[in-house]
């Protein structure tokens, strides 16, 4: 009796998953973003997998053992949404879920939130080892652009 129930539920579940995946296909267009780092950061490129790792707070040091400080904009900021979806390949709520787990279970720390792209630029230019992102059209100085290599 119960096994039959499990079976039916399992089938419904996978049908829903495929329906869900199909609906993902229609994604809205977002603006382009640039990943920026402090000029002290030794890297000039970063893989897609690694950038996910950094913003999920799973990687907290650069290859030269320098600590990484992560800056992010509000989850509703268009630039954050574009960065999360296009660059990381993660929806903003997924990132938030990861950070919530770190903060409220003691496992780690979440990124530092900034209020504007200007503040992002300002803080990244001043903090060694820091990383963040800005709109492609935003002018910048005293920071370095990191090229993300799509896999």
């Amino acid at each position: 009796m119960l096994q039959m129930k499990y079976f039916i539920i399992f089938c419904v579940f996978w049908i829903c998953i495929f329906a869900g995946i199909r609906s993902e296909a229609a994604q809205s267009q977002f603006q382009k973003v640039k990943v920026i780092v402090n000029t002290s950061v030794p890297a000039s490129t970063v893989s897609e997998q690694q950038i996910r790792r950094i913003f999920s707070m799973r990687q907290t040091v650069w290859a030269n053992n320098q600590s990484i400080t992560v800056f992010v904009l509000d989850k509703k900021h268009q630039v954050h949404q574009a960065f999360s979806t296009n660059t990381l390949g993660m929806f903003p709520y997924q990132l938030e879920r990861v950070w919530n787990k770190l903060v409220y279970s003691g496992l780690g720390e979440e990124p530092i939130k900034v209020n504007s792209e200007q503040e992002m630029l300002d803080r990244i230019s001043r903090n060694p080892g820091s990383i963040g992102y800005i709109n492609s059209n935003t002018e910048y100085e005293n920071v370095k652009v990191l090229k993300v290599i799509k896999e």
Binding site: V12, F13, G20, S23, V61, S67, Y93, N100, L107
Partner: protein
């Protein structure tokens, strides 16, 4: 002189050596929530089954980075869940986090002290309202009467994370024990308990895998926990022991509009003596849930879930329970299946209201676990609703 005690000097040194201001090293967060809840035809929340405000969860946490390898983290909470778990203030977690290896591709650390349970999908933040899919979690796995034991351990946790060509991997191991409060002993054994139930040892292991650049996650976890009961003078229970062993699998898919989550488990419970000298019981229960969430707008989420649990896989209808008790204990104490629908609305920054309705068949996960409350839980079908307002920072 007291101002310059070695301890204070040490702390000051740490701040200067780390080369950062105090504010960068110290992070403080918290949450406040209040709800209204009613369980009809069961003692799940309250004995009188009335509308209740016993749904309060408040917490404050801090994380202080001493240097690149050492960090201290702690959280204090005040909880009130009625009959679900003991009411009051408690230290949710408090540990020293020690990075053993930190490279771009590998992280290995040890956490020493009071740790959370990091092994199940929602176990590490089960009291933090805005991180949960529902106000009351699926009882097959997140069994409230067993909650304090499943919450975490006082002991050691080892965590390793890495990435390779197959994707992201997390490995967690924990060993330790937890204190079982008087109310929780009553939740497990019955109101008449006067002896001492002790958690001897708890070992848990889990492995999570997220295939490379995908929105899927797969996990497996195993648990082995031993308990010992010491009889008191005039006790209705006897010296005895209990062992719980669980194997669990979980999966999570996170799409743009949809999220699907499922956890299933097999749970073997072995009891020796305890109820009377020579008593032996070895039963394997099965349970699990399937949950879908639909993100209707960025602020509104709808949720539907089906949760199933059978206390003994060889007696899914509970007919043995009925037979062995001479018809005293109805068969519906052998299972508990639950359908839940809910919605949440994030109506302002970090302020959310959540509501849900549960329809339940069976009473197997209601307290007390070992000696059923036949008067309060005399209905095969029961229901529950809850609304909770929450704020976090």
């Amino acid at each position: 002189m007291k101002l310059l005690s070695p301890y204070r000097i040490y702390i000051l040194c740490c701040i200067f050596i780390s080369g950062q201001g105090f504010s960068d090293s110290l992070k403080v967060h918290g949450f406040v929530s209040q709800g209204i809840v009613q369980a009809v035809d069961s003692n799940f929340v309250d004995d009188d089954e009335d509308v209740s405000f016993k749904l309060t969860e408040v917490g404050l946490n801090a994380s202080y980075r001493i240097n690149n390898n050492l960090r201290v983290a702690g959280q204090g909470v005040y909880l009130n869940g009625g009959n679900r778990y003991p009411e009051g203030l408690r230290i949710d977690y408090l540990f020293l986090d020690w990075q053993l290896l930190n490279s771009p591709n590998w992280k290995v650390k040890a956490q020493i002290g009071r740790n959370k349970n990091y092994h199940w999908l929602y176990s590490s933040t089960r009291d933090v309202p805005h991180t949960r899919p529902s106000i009351v979690l699926p009882q097959s796995l997140y069994f409230d009467a067993f909650r304090d034991v499943a919450l975490g351990v006082d002991g050691l946790v080892l965590i390793a994370t890495t990435d390779n060509d197959f994707g992201e991997w997390d490995v967690n191991f924990s060993i330790g024990k937890s204190k079982i409060s008087k109310q929780e002993q009553q939740n497990l054994l019955g109101k008449s308990v006067i002896g001492e139930l002790n958690h001897e040892i708890d070992k848990q292991f889990s492995l999570y895998w997220r295939p490379k650049l995908s929105n899927m996650q797969w996990g497996i976890s195993i648990l082995d926990a031993d308990f010992k009961y010491d009889q008191a003078l005039g006790d209705t229970f006897f010296d005895g022991d209990e062992t719980s062993q669980r194997v669990m699998f979980n999966m999570l898919y996170q799409g743009e509009k949809w999220e699907f989550a499922s956890e299933i488990m097999k749970e073997r419970v072995i009891v020796n003596n305890l109820l009377f000298p020579g008593y032996k019981s070895d039963a394997t229960g099965e349970g699990g849930y399937l949950q879908s969430r639909f993100f209707a707008t960025p602020d509104v989420t709808l949720m539907a879930r089906l949760d199933l649990y059978d206390r003994d896989r060889k007696d899914r209808q509970g007919s043995q329970i009925e037979l062995l008790s001479g018809g005293m204990v109805p068969g519906y104490f052998g299972y508990m299946d639950q359908a839940t629908v809910g919605a949440s609305w994030l109506f302002s920054k970090n302020i959310q209201i959540q509501a849900e309705y549960h329809r339940v068949k069976g009473t197997s996960r209601l307290a007390p676990f070992f000696t059923p409350d036949l008067i309060a839980n005399d209905s095969k079908y029961w229901s529950m609703w809850a609304v909770q307002l929450m704020y976090w920072f």
